[in-house]
C-alpha cells in the first residue's frame, strides 16, 4: 500500500530512515532495506545527511522502488538551486517515486565538505510550496508543465524547539504551503509531545513522531553537545550508563517510546542511523 493510503487508513504508520552509502556499492544498503520490507510503511532516504556526501537520495529511492519498498525521497535546500530542485523533483516523479520530504538541510559547515558553497536558494517553506506548484502542473514561474507531479508532500517540525513560537509559525506556514504529513525531530519529552500533538490535530495533517535510537550513553552526550536541536534528558543517559549492554538498552528505550506513541499519534519515524537492523527489534519490542 502507498504511504498516502496507509496514512489515510488511520492505522498507526511506521517509517524508518535509511542512509545511502558513501560510494556506488549499494549491496549493504539494499540488504538493510530488504530487512525492513513489509515491516514498515516507507523508508526515508536521506539527502547528504549532516552535509556529509553520500550516494544520491534520488538514485537510492529508485533502487528501493525496484525492490518493492515504498521510498520517501528526502530533498534539502542546501545543495541545489531552484532549477536543479525542480528538475530532480520532476525526475523522481517520472521514475515512480510518490513521496517527498522537504527539509532545509544542515549547513555545509557541519559536514565533510566544509569549503563547499551552501546554496539555500529556497528555504523549506518555499520548497514545499514549489512541490505543490509542480503538483498543480506549473513550474515556479507559472509556466505550464507537460505532465505534472502528484507527490505526497512531507515536511519536518521540531516540537521541542526552544523558543517554540517561531517554530510554530513555520509549522503553520508549511501546512499553508501544502505539506500534508510531518516527521518530527527526535522526541524525548513525551508529555511535551502530547501537547504538541493535540495542537497539531486541529490541522488536516498527519504527524509521525521521530524516534532516535540511542546506541550508547556516549552517543547521547555527543547529541547534546554537537547536534543542534536535539536534547537527550539526563534520566535516559543514566539509564543507558547503568545498562550492561547499552545498545540493547537503547533499543528497549525506543521500543518503549514507540508503544507510548501508538497510544495517541498517527505514526512513528524511526531513525537508527547506520543501525537499520535494530529497527525491527524496536518494532517487535
Amino acid at each position: 500500500m502507498s504511504l498516502k493510503r496507509e496514512l489515510e487508513s488511520g492505522a498507526f504508520v511506521i517509517t524508518a530512515e535509511i542512509c545511502p552509502p558513501r560510494g556506488t556499492d549499494t549491496s549493504q544498503f539494499l540488504e538493510k532495506a530488504r530487512l525492513l520490507k513489509g515491516r514498515i510503511a516507507a523508508a526515508n532516504v536521506t539527502d547528504n545527511q549532516r552535509a556529509v556526501m553520500r550516494l544520491s537520495s534520488l538514485a537510492c529511492s529508485k533502487l528501493l522502488l525496484d525492490e518493492g519498498i515504498e521510498p520517501v525521497f528526502q530533498v534539502t535546500c542546501r545543495d541545489r538551486n531552484r532549477l536543479a530542485l525542480q528538475s530532480d523533483i520532476m525526475g523522481a516523479w517520472a521514475l515512480g517515486i510518490k513521496n517527498i520530504l522537504a527539509l532545509t538541510g544542515d549547513h555545509v559547515s557541519a559536514g565533510d565538505h566544509c569549503s563547499a558553497k551552501a546554496v539555500f536558494d529556497l528555504d523549506s517553506v518555499q520548497l514545499v510550496q514549489l512541490i505543490n506548484t509542480l503538483n498543480k502542473g506549473t513550474n515556479m514561474n507559472n509556466a505550464p508543465l507537460r505532465g505534472s507531479t502528484g507527490f505526497l508532500i512531507g515536511a519536518v517540525v521540531a516540537p521541542e524547539a526552544d523558543p517554540w513560537e517561531p517554530e510554530e509559525i513555520k509549522f503553520e506556514k508549511k501546512i499553508a504551503a501544502g505539506a500534508s504529513f510531518f516527521q518530527t525531530q527526535a522526541l524525548f519529552d513525551m508529555e511535551g509531545f502530547k501537547r504538541f500533538f493535540e495542537y497539531a490535530e486541529r490541522f488536516n495533517v498527519k504527524v509521525l513522531g521521530g524516534l532516535l535510537l540511542l546506541k550508547s550513553a556516549k552517543m547521547a552526550h555527543y547529541l547534546n553537545e554537537k547536534v543542534a536541536g536535539v536534547t537527550v534528558p539526563q534520566a535516559l543517559i543514566d539509564e543507558l550508563e547503568a545498562a550492561p549492554d547499552q545498545l540493547e538498552k537503547g533499543i528497549e528505550i525506543a521500543g518503549r517510546q514507540l508503544k507510548e506513541l501508538k497510544k495517541f499519534c498517527h505514526g512513528a519515524h524511526i531513525m537508527a542511523i547506520g543501525n537499520e537492523e535494530s529497527v525491527l527489534r524496536i518494532i517487535d519490542k
Binding site: Q126, E165, K170, Q185, G229
Partner: protein
C-alpha cells in the same frame, strides 16, 4: 565600512616574486580603521618587505583608494608609483581594482589584504556583518535584522531545525537571527509579518558585476549660436 584582514606576508612575498621595486598604497578610510592599511600598517609592510630584500620606492595613503580619481592623481603627481615593478595595495578589493585600472596594462597591482564584508561598527575595533548588499532589501519586514546576512542559510521564512536554546547551529555563540527577528517583531506588535510566506528571493537584480550610473558620460561640448 568594508572590513579587511591582512594576507600572510609569505603569500604577499610570493606574489611579488621576480619584482625588485615596490610602491605601497594604503587607504586612510576603511582599511585604516580596520588597522590593516593605515599609515602604521604601510610602515610595517615597508619594513617587512625590505627585510625580504625588496626595495620600497615610496609609500602613500590615499583618502579613499577605491576612488579612481585619487589613484589617478597619485600616479600623475608621484612618478615613483608608476615606475615601480609592482604596486602593493593595502586596501579592500575595490581599492586594488581602482589602482589596477589606473596603472594600465603593464604594471602588476597586488593585494596585501583580503576583503571580508560590509560592517556595522559596534564600536572601534568591533565589526559585525549586517548587510549583504543584495539589491533587494527585506529589512522592513524583518525588524531591521537581515536574514540573508545574519542567518548562515539565508532563510526567509523562520528558523531552521538547528536552533537550540535560541542559538544558531552554525555558531553556537550567536543567537539565531530568526529568533531575534521574531522577538523584535513581537515587541513591535508586527508578528503578522513573519506569518506571511516570504516568496523565493529574486536574485536577478544582484547579477554581477553591478553598476550605478548617476551621471551620463560627458558628451561633446555644444557650440552655442551655431546652426
Amino acid at each position: 565600512m568594508i572590513i579587511t584582514k591582512k594576507k600572510d606576508i609569505n603569500d604577499i612575498a610570493a606574489s611579488l616574486e621576480g619584482k625588485k621595486t615596490v610602491y605601497l598604497l594604503g587607504c586612510s578610510s576603511c582599511a585604516e580603521q580596520c588597522a590593516t592599511g593605515g599609515e602604521k600598517e604601510v610602515r610595517e609592510m615597508k619594513g617587512s618587505l625590505e627585510e625580504r630584500g625588496f626595495t620600497v620606492t615610496g609609500t602613500a595613503c590615499l583618502p579613499e583608494t577605491c576612488y579612481r580619481q585619487y589613484v589617478l592623481r597619485q600616479y600623475r603627481h608621484c612618478p615613483e608609483t608608476g615606475s615601480a615593478d609592482a604596486v602593493l595595495v593595502l586596501a579592500c578589493g575595490a581599492g586594488v581594482s581602482a589602482t589596477a585600472e589606473a596603472a594600465g596594462q603593464t604594471q602588476p597591482v597586488l593585494p596585501a589584504l583580503d576583503s571580508m564584508f560590509l560592517a556595522t561598527v559596534e564600536r572601534q575595533g568591533r565589526f559585525f556583518e549586517g548587510c549583504s548588499l543584495c539589491s533587494e532589501c527585506v529589512l522592513a519586514s524583518t525588524g531591521g535584522i537581515c536574514p540573508h546576512t545574519e542567518c548562515p542559510k539565508g532563510l526567509l521564512n523562520g528558523p531552521c531545525g538547528g536552533v537550540a536554546h535560541g542559538l544558531c547551529e552554525v555558531d553556537m555563540e550567536k543567537e539565531c537571527a530568526w529568533v531575534r527577528i521574531y522577538a523584535r517583531l513581537k515587541a513591535q506588535g508586527r508578528l503578522h509579518l513573519m506569518k506571511k510566506i516570504a516568496p523565493a528571493k529574486d536574485h536577478s537584480s544582484g547579477t554581477r558585476p553591478r553598476k550605478v550610473l548617476l551621471r551620463n558620460p560627458a558628451g561633446p561640448v555644444a557650440i552655442v549660436g551655431k546652426g
